[in-house]
């Protein structure tokens, strides 16, 4: 159990670090190109194409971070009307089950795309970087999102079971 937690913590730290680097590098690359174009009048060919790779990784790793921090946007109408703790716990488990199921299905298709990209092994037009390096982000990001959805489901189920046990003991 401890090992799992350790691995997960390391994964989260790595994901956080890479996201911070990507989020810092992308605007710098854009501004660098603007400077090259207007100040030095010598724009770098293919910089937009290179930028595509950190960008798609940022989107997907950011998505995984939002899942891990439970920071995804949600509408939350019904939660306003649920007052009882137990009802809320059941509600949370149902929510996690649906999220997890959808996430698995999306990851399945992202895996199909991952394999397709690997088999076709296309290269970017100008710089010739294998597109797989960017396209694989879709699968990795969704895989991480599924992992965090599973972890949420596990945690909320545990809270529900624990809560029910406690209320059962209280009734006795």
């Amino acid at each position: 159990m401890n090992t799992t937690k350790k691995v997960l913590d390391r994964l989260i730290s790595l994901q956080n670090l890479v996201s911070i680097v990507l989020m810092s590098v992308i605007p710098l690359m854009v501004v660098f190109q603007v400077l090259l174009r207007y100040v030095f009048q010598a724009p770098l060919m293919g910089i937009e194409e290179i930028m595509l790779f950190p960008t798609i990784w940022l989107y997907m790793l950011g998505g995984a971070m939002a899942s891990q921090k439970r920071n995804h946007i949600s509408c939350g109408i019904l939660t306003l009307y649920i007052k009882k703790d137990l009802s809320m716990q059941i509600f949370n488990v149902v929510k996690c089950i649906v999220s997890f199921a959808v996430s698995i299905w999306l990851t399945y298709w992202a895996f199909w795309y991952f394999m397709y990209s690997f088999k076709t092994w296309k290269h970017s037009d100008l710089v010739g970087i294998p597109m797989f390096l960017g396209e694989s982000a879709l699968f990795i990001g969704l895989l991480l999102m599924t992992l965090y959805a599973a972890s949420d489901l596990f945690r909320d189920s545990k809270i529900l079971i624990k809560g029910r046990k406690l209320s059962g003991e209280g009734e006795k």
């Binding site: 605007p27 920071n71 949600s74 109408i77 649906v98 990001g141």
Partner: protein
């Protein structure tokens, strides 16, 4: 096939109501369409990835970063102090400061959250100290924050231009007129309302010389913050930057301003802000991927054509149809966020409005004002909830003032935008963009 689409929409609303994270709501609706709607997921995956790598889309993450950095670099505080010079001693003046500052911040950040996130923590306590009710102060700052989506550059306009293939620069300008009209209407309502608060504490009168000295000092300090909208908008309309580049420039410029001029940015909070931005970017972009794919399934199943037929069977009266479109957009804004609403609905409604003889640029403004309002209309009222958290006030305290500002100050502008095209088309036409 349309029955399948209808069931899918019902499923989507159900998932949204369950408060399932948005990427999974749209992913779930997409799953239903792939299973029952005869949609090829393989081609949709290929299409979706190609859409995601569009350079135009990168503007949104960069504006998110710029907005987050602005909140922590002291830019907002100095803009507030600057605006306060002009109306600080007038009854209700601080309310006008709130509205104006949110509009100026909108000219830097492009998002609806930045106004309340950057000015709320400073302005709301300051208003409460001066005797304004907490609910009123929070409501005013929160509804004014919506201006971030209307004053260019605006992220939702980038998305509209992208999905409908309309000039983004023209779309930016289309919401300037409505945005200014909202600044005026909110300021008037605030000035009138402020007279009803009996215990307002106004700034003490100062000697003319002292006042002048303070104004000059505040203006001097605010110059870097005031220069930002000029650099960004001047860069975009001067043809120096694309909107994406402008967003990157805004983010990068705010770093030296925060580090060396205002000295509020530290390495630790910089790391935290960048990490928060990356999380927000991920939350928005993963949602966009699946919204886009879902929207595409509807387009493939010819839903836009079905909407046209359905509505034209009900009525062919342009005024009634426009009212129906406004109500529909308002309802969409109530249940999903602005970007999602834009991506999901713009491709579906554009063919209809084109048949009504409305230009895509005018429709950009109509969609913009309607969906921007969604951020403060429950149940999906992300800007309102954020405002409540920042203002430390309860829903019942903020509800009445919010509704008054919306009904008296915002809704009339929505109708004005819809039925008076010049309000949104004047500037784009003047610039030769529409």
């Amino acid at each position: 096939m349309l029955t399948i689409v209808l069931i899918d929409v019902i499923l989507l609303v159900f998932l949204l109501m369950l408060s399932i994270p948005l990427p999974y709501c749209f992913g779930g609706a997409l799953m239903f369409m792939a299973i029952f709607g005869d949609i090829s997921m393989k081609s949709l995956m290929l299409w979706g990835f190609n859409q995601m790598i569009s350079p135009i889309l990168l503007a949104s993450p960069l504006f998110i970063l710029a907005g987050t950095l602005m909140g922590g670099t002291g830019i907002a505080t100095n803009l507030l102090d600057f605006a306060d010079i002009f109306v600080g001693r007038v009854k209700g003046g601080i309310g006008v400061v709130a509205v104006t500052t949110c509009a100026i911040i909108g000219a830097i950040s492009g998002s609806g959250f930045t106004g309340v996130a950057a000015t709320g923590p400073i302005l709301i306590p300051r208003m409460v100290e001066q005797g304004y009710p907490r609910g009123y102060s929070t409501a005013l700052v929160t509804v004014s924050s919506v201006l971030g989506l209307l004053i260019p550059p605006s992220v939702i306009m980038i998305f509209y231009g992208w999905v409908t293939d309309t000039s983004i620069l023209a779309c930016f300008l289309s919401t300037v007129g409505p945005g200014i009209a909202i600044v005026v209407s909110f300021s008037i309502i605030n000035m009138v309302w402020a007279r009803k608060f009996p215990d307002l504490i106004l700034e003490e009168k100062m000697a003319k010389g002292e006042r002048m000295k303070r104004s000059l000092k505040r203006t001097w300090i605010a110059i870097p913050a005031l220069a930002m909208p000029f650099i960004i908008l001047g860069g975009i309309y001067g043809g120096v930057f694309t909107p994406t580049e402008a967003a990157a420039v805004a983010a990068v410029i705010s770093i030296p301003i925060g580090l060396w001029i205002y000295k509020e940015l530290k390495v630790d909070n910089f790391k935290e802000m960048v990490s928060d931005s990356a999380t927000s970017v991920g939350a928005i972009m993963t949602m966009i991927i699946f919204t886009l794919m879902l929207s595409q399934t509807y387009v493939l199943l010819r839903v836009p054509q079905a909407i046209i037929e359905l509505l034209f069977n009900i009525t062919q009266n342009k005024t009634i149809l426009l009212i129906i479109i406004n109500i529909f957009l308002f309802l969409v804004g109530m249940i999903v966020n602005d970007v999602t609403g834009m991506i999901l609905v713009a491709p579906l409604l554009l063919p209809l409005v084109l048949q009504l003889g409305i230009s895509p640029v005018h429709f950009a403004a109509i969609m913009g004002v309607n969906l921007a309002m969604g951020g403060v209309t429950p149940p999906y009222a992300s800007i309102l909830y954020l405002g409540m958290r920042i203002g430390k006030c309860e829903f019942h305290e903020i509800l009445k003032p919010t509704m008054v500002f919306l009904i008296l100050g915002y809704v009339p502008i929505v109708f004005l935008t819809t039925f008076w095209p010049a309000l949104s088309l004047y500037l784009p036409t003047l610039m030769g963009l529409a």
